[in-house]
């Protein structure tokens, strides 16, 4: 049994097929590119990313410049989207706030996914003690109030946007663990997982190539949804001293401030709300596109 196996060599009718010489085009990518809503989502997300990146180059007023004479002014030619409670230009703050908000949204989701999905897979696939430990820890994390977690993190990691993202990421992790675990349970019972074992795939390959792709759809959905929650959560963290500190803008904190002026200055809530909606829409469309592209059955 120790002797090395030699690959089987039997000449077949078709080894010289032209198909072999050209590199197979990546079907997923191709499908993705041709996916209508994915492209729309991509454009939306790209638009906001560009805004965030090029904010300093755009001919817009200083987002921090206050104007005592133009406090809470409705949209006008001078201020397209109006001004806020301190007379700052809302459009400019929206654009400058894109960076913090997108980062908060994307990075914290990335943290949650990269923690939650592997843990969920381990728990679901191995069961037993692994599952018990991971699941109980998840429950502990779930039960601990977000606020306490956030304040503690703020105190120990110090106030920064990165730490806010970590806090949001950690608190969003349990959902991914649970979601993944639940999905793994049913996927692991499939025949094709047995077939992978029969082939002798090492466990990590089974996890990464058989289990992971098949648990991905709900994870994708949850991830794209969590972007919204994370953007909004960033604001509550900045209030706790984590995250973007005033006066630097972020959409969440713009919304938070707007809360007090809903009746007098509705636009203050409207624009950041729309921005968050569009970004979330963009990510969700992208997610749908990815989901469809990854599902070979989808036309």
């Amino acid at each position: 049994m120790a002797q090395p196996a030699t690959p089987l060599t039997i000449d077949a009718q078709s080894a010289e097929d032209p198909v072999l010489s050209h590199k197979p085009e990546n079907r997923v990518w191709k499908k993705f590119r041709h996916h209508r809503s994915a492209m729309l989502g991509g454009i939306l997300v790209a638009f906001f990313i560009l805004l965030a990146v090029f904010a300093p180059l755009l001919p817009i007023p200083d987002p921090l410049a206050t104007d005592w004479g133009a406090v809470r002014k409705a949209p006008s030619m001078a201020h397209w989207l109006g001004t806020d409670d301190l007379g700052r230009d809302v459009l400019s703050r929206l654009i400058w706030g894109a960076q913090a908000s997108l980062l908060a949204g994307v990075v914290s989701v990335a943290i949650a996914v990269s923690l939650g999905v592997p843990l969920g897979i381990l728990a679901g696939y191995f069961g037993g003690w692994t599952d018990a430990v991971i699941s109980r820890c998840t429950e502990a994390l779930l039960a601990a109030p977000f606020l306490i977690l956030a304040i503690a993190l703020a105190a120990f990691l110090g106030p920064s946007l990165t730490n806010a993202m970590i806090a949001i990421g950690i608190s969003a992790t349990p959902v991914f663990v649970r979601l993944t675990r639940g999905q793994v349970l049913s996927v692991a019972a499939e025949d094709y997982v047995d077939s992978a074992r029969a082939i002798g795939l090492p466990t990590h390959r089974i996890l990464s190539r058989y289990i992971f792709p098949n648990v991905l759809p709900p994870v994708l959905v949850q991830a794209t949804l969590t972007v919204a929650t994370a953007i909004i959560a960033e604001a509550s963290l900045s209030f706790l001293g984590l995250g973007q500190q005033p006066p630097a803008p972020s959409w969440g904190s713009m919304l938070n401030t707007a809360k007090n002026f809903l009746t007098q200055a509705p636009w203050m809530a409207l624009w950041p709300g729309i921005a968050i909606f569009l970004v979330v829409l963009g990510f969700n469309l992208l997610g749908d596109g990815l989901r469809d592209a990854l599902d070979p059955r989808e036309q």
Partner: protein, 482 residues
């Protein structure tokens, strides 16, 4: 009929000796009578005590008490009860009133309704304390029975008695039929509901779910005034808001801002207090630069609210060695108004070259950091006391309990102590003015504004009187039905 009052937050424990929140005092106003009360002009007026006299040396205070008063549990109110209450406030372990009554060294029941307090030294603040929680009389029988749990079912002698409480939901009082002045009170029950969000508070008033709200946001004034169904009342508060600098509190006190008063002066000059008031409070609040609001008799007219002077601020900075400006980190409570305020301040002082960075903290952290001296500057205020001493002594004297900047100046200590122990208004006033001269130079606290209490009421409510202490007194208040 039921009167529904929306408060900004939920009260804490309902025991006058243990409680500490502002909203708690609002509830007590209808539930627990005090020995003395105040008028809207801050004059003392009889409540449970009909008369009071200080001895010549100010070391004895004799009170004559009402004779027609019973507590909600039927216990009669008399001099013994007062003595028991003073004892409770001073000696119950959980009491938060100890320092307020620390000048009383003994009580002497002179008759069934007459009592004398013996003081260690003259105490000008005592009457003011008796006009607040320290002067609230609780039923001695109930208090003895309940001990520290008294707050779960408080028994006082006010016009309304405690009915029920659901934490964070409501506190219900019902009319106390045996109240000596029961006719003046026109509601069967009074319900206090905590509604933290100002917009929602107003909306509840507009929808008719609530009859009266306290602390309407200044920015909502216009809207409330334009609503025909709503009336607005206001009174400038006794408190102040400002920025406390760490002058000498621990290691962090050793910083340019703590060491060089010129920087703090520059900071003050860089502020446009009127603009702040306009931007953040729609002009509804009062600008300020002292521990008392400008309309207070204790306000020192020698130092009027300064106009903004950027040049002077810059000059001071340059003089202090910072011609290119200087950084300053300010901690701010994480609520809307302070954040708004500080962003305006930040923007204003930046024109003078002061680069402020803000750190918002939730209040408990902020407080802990502040008292531990772990800060450079902190945006914080004081809710105010009837007696001027309450607004200044504990902050500015070397051993002051709340002196978080650890400002220490022997002369100020002497002046403020003198003001505290004199019953002569003129002496007191003079002392405060003299202290102000020093403090205005030192600026350990840069005062910015004085809040205005704004109440919004349903049009049907009649007879409401605004008080500078922010309390809601229900005597004579009625509601038109229909």
């Amino acid at each position: 009929a039921d009167l529904r009052i929306a408060l900004q937050s939920d009260a804490d424990v309902l025991d006058p000796d243990q409680s500490r929140t502002f909203v708690g005092r609002i509830v007590y106003t209808s539930m627990c009578d005090k020995l003395v009360d105040i008028t809207p002009d801050l004059e003392f007026t009889p409540q449970l005590a009909t008369e009071w006299t200080f001895s010549e040396d100010g070391k004895q205070l004799t009170l004559k008490l009402r004779e027609d008063v019973v507590f909600h549990d039927g216990t009669p109110f008399d001099a013994e009860a007062v003595a028991a209450n003073i004892d409770r406030s001073q000696n119950m372990e959980a009491s938060r009133r100890k320092s307020e009554l620390s000048s009383i060294v003994g009580t002497e029941v002179l008759g069934s309704h007459e009592i004398r307090f013996d003081l260690a030294s003259a105490d000008a603040t005592l009457l003011a304390q008796l006009a607040d929680r320290a002067g609230m009389m609780v039923s001695p029988t109930a208090a003895a029975e309940a001990g520290a749990d008294f707050g779960l079912n408080p028994v006082c002698s006010g016009p309304y008695k405690f009915k029920e409480r659901v934490a964070q939901d409501r506190i219900v009082l019902e009319k106390f039929a045996d109240y000596y002045n029961a006719d003046e009170f026109n509601f069967d029950t009074v319900t206090y509901l905590p509604i933290p969000d100002t917009t929602v508070r107003l909306a509840n008033l507009q929808s008719g779910d609530i009859d009266l709200i306290e602390r309407l946001a200044a920015t909502d004034l216009e809207q409330a005034e334009s609503d025909a169904g709503i009336q607005v009342e206001s009174a400038v508060s006794l408190g102040y808001q400002g920025i406390t600098f760490n002058v000498n509190n621990g290691e962090k006190g050793d910083n340019p801002w703590g060491n060089d008063k010129r920087l703090r002066q520059a900071f003050s000059y860089a502020l446009d207090r009127a603009a702040i008031n306009q931007v953040v409070f729609n002009g509804a609040f009062a600008e300020g630069n002292q521990s008392f609001p400008p309309n207070s008799p204790w306000y020192s007219t020698d130092f009027p609210v300064p106009a903004r002077d950027i040049e002077k601020a810059k000059a001071l900075l340059a003089e202090a060695g910072y011609p290119d400006g200087i950084d300053l980190e300010v901690q701010v409570p994480n609520t809307t108004v302070p954040l708004q305020l500080m962003q305006v301040v930040q923007s204003m002082v930046s024109e003078a070259g002061i680069r402020v960075s803000l750190t918002s903290k939730e209040f408990a952290t902020l407080l802990a950091d502040q008292s531990a001296g772990d800060y450079t500057a902190s945006q914080i205020g004081w809710s105010g006391r009837v007696d001027p001493d309450g607004n200044i002594h504990q902050f500015m004297t070397t051993d002051g309990g709340i002196n978080d900047s650890k400002f220490s100046n022997a002369e100020v200590d002497t002046l403020l102590d003198r003001a505290r122990t004199s019953n002569d208004q003129a002496v007191r006033k003079e002392s405060y003015n003299a202290a102000r001269a020093i403090l205005n130079d030192e600026q350990p606290i840069v005062y910015v504004y004085h809040q205005t209490w704004i109440w919004a009421l349903d049009d049907a409510i009649k007879g409401f009187t605004p008080y500078p202490d922010g309390m809601i007194r229900l005597a004579g208040v009625t509601k038109d039905e229909g």
